[in-house]
């Protein structure tokens, strides 16, 4: 049997470098049709596709890639949407290297299939060709018409849960506290990684499934959770994320010029401060910017500062590059763009002038300890060794925690010691009819894991409703 030579893993182009570091345009351009066909050709079409098991929302990866091979691009997009309401988002921000592509069989002998880029291609192709996205053909299972379900938060978990329940035939309302939907997709992830028109498009698709979106409704403030039950919602899903920024709790932290990553990114992404004064929310443009942290959020903040016109941007991380939780691709991007990395330093004090304006940051030098029983090497201070970096703008990206605005206002809802909601893998909480998923249960994680949680909860909500109405499930 003649063996056809397998094409190389395709790589999409990026926008020109100069444009890249001075604008907020999306960096990777995505596959061309030719590249998508070549890449799809690489799929081995395994009998037992591991990639699907590696996907938290079980996207029918093999099927959609087959459809791309057959040049049925629109059908490919439709196929993805049977399981994933946010394909253009996932194709861009999922850590595929840790999920579907990690377990791709091809990875054993070659580079894995570029599943993420193919997903993005199918979704973008559909958006280009169709004005109105097509709804997938899914069997409705809602026991009655007009069963109302409330979703709190319109981030990845809430949107996914809403889409799945709407496809099952429920009447779904999403309550969002901000003036734009999307949660972290809108306020957190920058335009150059995830253009907001893409988020809007996918939210519009979910609305087209019949989901009602109520903006400017902060549950716990505008309305209490129990009022939703009083108003006839039969089940509630809480997907509010982990929105409260952690602080360093070191002297000088409240000086002017020190932002939490949450504030910095919210101003830029949600409020569009990068277009100030065309938009009304201002942002400080730093000369010497120091970002503290080593995750994706730190990198997003650093790359944003660079695009806003900073002369130098430094990422200060207390461990080494090996321990950085950020995606490798993002670290590479940041390096290419000229961001400076400083490892094994940890801030101990912010220094400011008489007007409380930041001037410098004092760091403690660190080293990694010998591995402990769990094999982890902890950063420990090198006694007496300090370094001061000049900075007129600092961004702290050291993680987030649960926002008590909602969790503390729900009587009878069990929280864990860190303030996150206690829920099982299907999102069932200590309160009947109340489900939760995403970062508010697990702590800060990824878009896709939150989507997986939303999906599982949709399943659990359906079981709960069917049981409540004593209807035997027949699918």
């Amino acid at each position: 049997m003649a063996k056809k030579k397998r094409p190389e893993r395709q790589k999409d182009k990026s926008i020109p470098f100069k444009e890249r570091i001075s604008t907020f345009k999306e960096v990777p351009l995505g596959f061309t049709v030719r590249q998508a066909l070549l890449e799809a050709e690489r799929c081995l079409e395994c009998k037992r596709p591991r990639c699907i098991e590696g996907c938290p929302v079980s996207v029918p990866i093999k099927d959609f890639i087959q459809l791309i091979k057959k040049k049925e691009y629109l059908k490919a997009a439709e196929k993805i949407k049977e399981k994933n309401a946010l394909p253009a988002v996932c194709g861009r921000v999922c850590p595929q290297e840790d999920q579907c592509e990690k377990v791709c069989l091809l990875a054993k002998v070659d580079k894995p299939v570029a599943i993420g880029k193919l997903e993005r291609f199918a979704a973008d192709y559909e958006a280009k060709k169709l004005k109105e996205p097509k709804k997938p053909d899914v069997k409705k299972v809602s026991p009655r018409r007009n069963i109302k379900i409330a979703i709190i938060g319109s981030g990845p978990a809430g949107l996914t849960c809403a889409a799945d329940l709407a496809l099952m035939g429920y009447r779904v309302t999403i309550f969002e506290s901000l003036h734009e939907p999307g949660g972290v997709l809108t306020y957190g992830i920058p335009e150059f990684r995830l253009p907001k028109r893409i988020v809007r498009r996918e939210v519009n698709y979910i609305k087209s499934l019949g989901v009602e979106l109520k903006l400017n409704h902060a549950i716990g403030a505008t309305l209490q959770l129990d009022e939703l039950f009083e108003r006839g919602y039969e089940a509630i899903f809480i997907g509010v994320g982990a929105g409260l920024p952690q602080l360093l709790n070191i002297p000088g932290e409240n000086a002017v010029g020190i932002y939490t990553a949450n504030e910095y990114l919210t101003r830029v992404n949600l409020m569009k401060a990068y277009l100030f004064p065309g938009y009304d929310t201002p942002i400080k443009i730093g000369q010497n910017v120091v970002v503290i942290g080593g995750g994706n959020v730190a990198l997003d903040a650093a790359r944003t500062a660079l695009r806003l016109g900073a002369r130098s941007v430094t990422i200060a991380y207390r461990r080494t590059e090996n321990e950085m939780p950020a995606r490798i691709e993002e670290i590479e991007h940041a390096r290419e763009e000229g961001i400076i990395f400083r490892f094994l330093i940890s801030p101990v004090e912010f220094l400011a002038d008489d007007n409380n304006v930041l001037t410098a940051i004092k760091f403690q030098l660190m080293e990694l300890s010998e591995p402990d029983e769990s094999g982890r090497r902890k950063p420990v201070p090198v006694p007496g060794k300090f370094e001061t970096l000049p900075a007129d703008l600092a961004i702290t990206a050291i993680g987030t925690k649960a926002n008590p605005l909602i969790t503390k206002t729900i009587p009878g809802l069990k929280l864990n010691s860190k303030g996150y909601i206690e829920a099982d893998e299907f999102g069932r909480t200590s309160r009947e009819g109340v489900f939760a998923g995403g970062d508010i249960v697990t702590g800060a994680a990824t878009v896709i894991s939150a989507m997986g949680a939303g999906k599982n909860a949709a399943q659990a909500i359906q079981e709960y409703i069917l049981k409540k109405y004593q209807i035997k499930q027949k699918i």
Partner: protein, 303 residues
């Protein structure tokens, strides 16, 4: 449109909960307005001391404003503001019947209302608007109210009649002496403290006024509560823009406040943080006025 039954039997339309129409607009000072807008959910849940956030238009910033009055039956809320920049300028140009883009509330912890005995209400400028609901609630809790109301001049005094009605005594102070007594709120407090045994004071106004008034309270040994007004973005605890230092600890004014023990507040830090964007705000406002033809072109300073 569907109609639902509110928790106390008030009917209102929930479908309208996202249309924030201006019902009434009143000019109450040379640069200040009182608006009444439709915001049924906010009106239904509002409590004294709370605030809300609004956005004027698609490109607008989110600004926090204190709730002055609310009516659950009509689903309206009242708020007052002074024109100090582009956003408040735009807001002041809206007419009755127009809509605000976004309204989120009620936010912040409500005032801790209890019986103190005699409470001094120390309001500077538009702080009087924020004071009104607290005054009502304190009165209802049986407190004897002594109000000291301060303003630049007679024209800038607001809600005097309303506060007078609730108070057993009111001292009106103007910086220029154009009405009432010439002096600041803290001067009025000294006078009042000679006449009354003041158990507690509420201090609301511009940060600088609160700083000096709180210092006067401390000298007189009067425990006090202030309502802080730092810069906010989301105002739901998400961003930390509104961090304040109270008693050496960092708090988010939007969810931990806005009310704090005035004697514990780091006022200089608050003032510094409030002026963080002065240049940007000035630049944006001048650019806007120039475009509108209010300012001659080429005259604005560079930020």
């Amino acid at each position: 449109m569907f109609v639902i039954l509110g928790d106390d039997g008030i009917l209102f339309s929930l479908k309208m909960s996202n249309f924030f129409q201006i019902i009434k607009k009143e000019k109450i000072a040379p640069n200040g307005f009182l608006f009444r807008i439709k915001a049924p959910e906010v009106a239904l849940h509002a409590k004294p001391g709370q605030f809300f956030v609004l956005r004027v238009n698609e490109r607008g910033e989110r600004i926090p404003l204190t709730l002055v009055r609310w009516n659950r039956r009509s689903g309206t809320i009242d708020f007052a503001f002074q024109v100090i920049g582009k956003t408040t300028h735009l807001l002041s140009k809206l007419k009755e019947g127009d809509f605000l883009k976004d309204v989120l509330g009620p936010l912040g912890r409500p005032s801790e209302i209890k019986y103190y005995g005699t409470v001094a209400l120390l309001a500077g400028g538009f702080g009087a608007a924020a004071m009104l609901p607290i005054a009502n609630a304190l009165k209802e809790a049986g407190n004897n109210l002594v109000t000291i109301l301060g303003a630049r001049s007679k024209d800038y005094l607001i809600l005097e009649k309303e506060l007078r009605r609730l108070s057993s005594k009111i001292y009106v102070m103007t910086d220029d002496g154009s009405y009432g007594i010439k002096g600041f709120v803290k001067d009025g407090l000294e006078m009042a403290s000679r006449e009354y045994d003041i158990a507690h004071a509420y201090v609301i106004g511009p940060a600088i006024m609160m700083k000096f008034t709180v210092a006067a309270c401390q000298e007189l040994g009067i425990p006090n509560t202030v309502s802080l007004n730092p810069i906010m973005v989301d105002a739901t605890g998400m961003c930390g823009s509104c961090r304040v230092n109270v008693g050496g600890k960092t708090y988010f004014a939007c969810v931990d406040g806005p009310e704090f023990d005035g004697s514990q507040v780091d006022w200089n830090l608050l003032l510094n943080r409030l002026s963080a964007y002065l240049n940007e705000e000035k630049h944006s406002y001048e650019l806007f006025l120039k475009k509108k033809g209010v300012l001659p072109r080429g005259k604005e300073k560079k930020a």
